[in-house]
């Protein structure tokens, strides 16, 4: 597993909450939301699924979007992705 970059105080343009939704909703939702974003905008994706730590950076790499990093709360992760593709 690649080393995940942890970030704080990122200000997203759009937030989507998929906490407690099953895998692979994080990828489906990510795909759906990125389609709606303008180039340069930042998506914040909330999920409790730890597999996303691997999947989301990889997805970004594959699709040419920028993976900014991840922030952690007690019970879920916040992923930040900038639309660059």
């Amino acid at each position: 597993m690649k080393k995940v970059k942890f970030v704080e105080h990122i200000r997203p343009d759009v937030t989507t909450d998929i906490v407690y939704m099953m895998c692979p909703m994080h990828l489906l939702k990510l795909d759906e939301m990125m389609g709606k974003l303008q180039k340069g905008q930042i998506l914040e994706l909330l999920t409790d699924y730890d597999g996303a730590l691997e999947d989301i950076p990889e997805w970004c790499e594959k699709t040419g979007n920028e993976f900014i990093g991840v922030d952690e709360t007690d019970d879920y992760f916040k992923f930040y992705i900038r639309k660059t593709a």
């Binding site: 998929i18 407690y20 099953m22 909703m25 489906l28 007690d74």
Partner: protein
């Protein structure tokens, strides 16, 4: 003459609903997750049904999660919210008017370390919103109060209770299985965060229910697996049943406005006729009740006898008596309303639907007094109860 007066048990499937379902049993058998046309057709059918069901309760289609039944929707709501919010508190409030699927879920949560408050109704079966307010603690995360009681027909002040829950940032769920499709139900107007419904209660098929989940409300799945229902309820969709539920919802929405008055008129006639008999008590709220619902306790006799004798005459009704339940326990709802146990044994429930006629009501009013008379002739209490000892336990001898 056959008279089906048990619409609270289930309702007849509308022919148009069956017709809408048929292709999905046959040629359109695809899995909604498959990407070829057979799959996308099924997916489109499910999504159309979602819009139809959302339309019936004024929700967005993304706020509807299909389930296998009303009971599953209730289990899902209670467990799903309790576990999703347990880090904020571990206290829930439910009423004593609830269906077993709520009460037993609450009991399960108690075993898992939650605490639960069970609110008693008044003699009409109403839950007092102020009692809900008083039961709230800093730990309360979820309140669930039934919309309408299938046992006594009472419609609860759900809107007031939802408003109290909202003030305190508590999630509010209502079990609307007995009401959706039978009276207008609007999730926005009620202010519910979650609402359960069931297709076979409004002329749809069995095997389909739904949970309305307000946008932004987190819930932990009851069934883990794949991405069906937005990753919140796994399992390949019961496409024909879902399609049937959608069609039934569409029909109910279109017909409700002019259906309710006719049913209520028949119901009132039935009540008027039955209340002419001696030692018969009306149960539930006299006005605030489901339009097709008429429930009574008949003194000095027991409910199962009434059911069997009426059934022999082609009249099908229900009872909350102990003997009609497999557990041999009287309806906790009737008892919580303060009805003495020996009277609760004489419970009888008539629930009417759009398929009932005036002739059927006349026939029932002719036959029912004879059934009561007959059973009272058999009863040692035909002249009154005498001295009855309340309380104690009734464990059948081995």
């Amino acid at each position: 003459m056959q008279c089906y007066f048990d619409h609270v048990a289930t309702t007849p499937l509308r022919p148009e609903v069956l017709e809408a379902m048929m292709p999905y049993f046959k040629e359109e058998f695809g899995n909604p997750l498959s990407i070829y046309p057979l799959g996308t057709n099924a997916r489109e059918a499910v999504e159309r049904a979602r819009e139809q069901v959302a339309g019936l309760v004024n929700a967005k289609s993304t706020e509807i999660i299909f389930t296998s039944s009303g009971a599953e929707a209730n289990n899902f709501a209670l467990r799903g919210i309790a576990f999703a919010r347990q880090h904020e508190g571990r206290h829930i409030i439910v009423s004593r008017m609830e269906h077993h699927s709520i009460l037993n879920s609450a009991r399960f949560l108690e075993k898992m370390g939650f605490t639960a408050t069970y609110l008693p109704p008044d003699r009409h079966g109403l839950i007092d919103p102020e009692a809900v307010r008083k039961a709230i603690t800093d730990e309360t995360i979820l309140i669930s109060v039934i919309h309408a009681s299938p046992e006594v027909g009472t419609i609860e002040p759900v809107r007031e209770i939802a408003a109290i829950a909202r003030e305190r940032n508590i999630t509010f769920h209502t079990d609307a299985v007995a009401s959706v499709g039978n009276i207008p139900v609007d999730v926005k107007e009620l202010g519910a965060d979650l609402l359960s419904m069931s297709a076979h209660q409004f002329n749809g098929p069995k095997g389909a229910g739904a949970l309305y989940l307000r946008e932004g409300q987190r819930i932990i799945p009851l069934i883990f697996g794949g991405i069906q229902e937005g990753g919140r309820r796994a399992g390949t969709e019961n496409v024909p049943a879902i399609v049937g539920m959608g069609r039934a919802a569409e029909i109910a929405k279109a017909e409700l406005p002019h259906r309710v008055d006719g049913i209520r008129r028949l119901r009132d006639r039935l009540i008027e006729g039955i209340m002419k008999m001696e030692a018969v008590h009306f149960t539930g709220h006299p006005e605030q009740r489901l339009p097709g619902h008429a429930s009574f306790c008949v003194e000095y006799i027991e409910g199962e006898g009434m059911l069997l004798m009426l059934a022999a005459k082609g009249i099908y009704v229900a009872s909350g008596s102990a003997c009609t339940s497999k557990a041999l326990k009287s309806s906790p709802v009737l008892l919580s309303m303060g009805i003495p146990t020996h009277v609760a044994h004489g419970s009888v429930v008539f629930t009417l639907g759009a398929d009932n006629t005036e002739e059927q009501i006349d026939y029932a009013l002719e036959e029912f007094p004879q059934v009561i008379k007959r059973l009272r002739e058999l009863s040692p209490f035909s002249k009154g109860w005498g001295d009855i000892e309340e309380g104690g336990t009734c464990i059948p001898k081995k």
